[in-house]
């Protein structure tokens, strides 16, 4: 490390000043500033500007707009110069819809139900209907078998239900 004559080498003293390992970019043109090159300007409002060369610095101080200076990165990006490679790399992003199972029916059950053919479904429906009819017949059979024992009990709820039903029908 370069030492000024008369100074002691306190290694820590230099570290906060020597951040030379980072390659900065020029605030005006977007060029890369390698360590020990260029100037750093701190404006009155504490904003920092880095210049790679006196050309950049001079133009900045003349308050030129880098967007109008043809060799700056800002201009090139704005006028889309030399960007064809980047455009080719661009990937289109599409959201993929995922099928998810619900608590009641997991993914396999949903898939199975969806993939049933119409014939199978109609068969299932017929089976369900016949099953229901048979169950109903059985119920009626049991009811007629025990008429004396619980006729009154049956009659009362039956009537009340019918009344209720009738009431609902009336309205």
């Amino acid at each position: 490390m370069h030492l000024r004559p008369g100074t002691v080498d306190f290694g820590c003293r230099f570290t906060d000043l020597c951040s030379s390992l980072k390659v900065e970019i020029d605030s005006f043109s977007g060029y890369r500033i390698y360590p020990s090159k260029g100037k750093l300007f701190v404006r009155g409002d504490s904003k920092v500007f880095r210049f790679a060369s006196s050309k950049n610095a001079s133009l900045f101080l003349q308050r030129k707009n880098p967007r109008k200076i043809a060799w700056t990165q800002v201009y090139r990006r704005m006028h889309k110069k030399g960007i064809t490679e980047e455009v080719a790399k661009k990937r289109s992003r599409r959201t993929v819809k995922h099928q998810r199972g619900i608590v009641g029916a997991d993914l396999a059950a949903i898939a199975a139900k969806r993939n049933q053919t119409a014939a199978v479904r109609s068969q299932q429906r017929l089976a369900a209907i016949t099953k229901a009819k048979s169950e109903k017949k059985e119920k009626e059979g049991t009811k007629t078998k025990k008429p004396a024992a619980s006729k009154a009990a049956h009659a009362a709820p039956k009537v009340s239900k019918q009344q209720m039903k009738g009431g609902k029908g009336g309205r």
Binding site: R4, T7, R13, L17, C18, P35, S36, K39, V42, S46
Partner: protein
């Protein structure tokens, strides 16, 4: 490069606003140019008005116009070279007032100071500064 008649803004809360350099205190040379971290003798050209209440409170020593004080330069418009080869330049010349024992008069610093101060031994000022560049 602050020399005789060089004007500096004061960025601490000592009450002075503008000081004019009268002498640059360097080891062997009693004149010449002052840079960041150099002590100077200066005259207060413009100061903040001191109210009666402010004079009574003892938060910071308040200076008046025409006072001759010492100061340390913290920002210069002239570039200063860093050990890694960079050059730093600020937008104005600024100083912080001191007493004869190299202690600060104010208690707070408002604004950027140069990091070169630390190398020259003004660590206290650097630690008080809100931003160091």
């Amino acid at each position: 490069m602050i020399g005789l008649k060089g004007k500096l803004n004061v960025i601490d809360n000592s009450g002075a606003l503008l000081v004019e350099c009268v002498n640059v205190l360097k080891q062997k040379v009693n004149n010449g140019w002052g840079s960041i971290g150099d002590e100077i003798v200066c005259v207060v050209k413009r100061a903040r008005p001191i109210g009666a209440a402010a004079a009574a409170s003892a938060t910071a020593v308040k200076v008046r116009r025409g006072d001759v004080r010492r100061a340390v330069i913290v920002r210069t418009k002239k570039v200063v070279r860093r050990p890694d080869g960079r050059f730093i330049r600020f937008d104005d010349n600024a100083a912080v007032l001191l007493n004869n024992k190299r202690e600060m008069l104010g208690t707070r610093i408002g604004g950027v100071v140069s990091a070169d101060l630390r190398m020259k031994g003004w660590g206290k000022i650097v630690s008080l500064a809100p931003k160091v560049l």
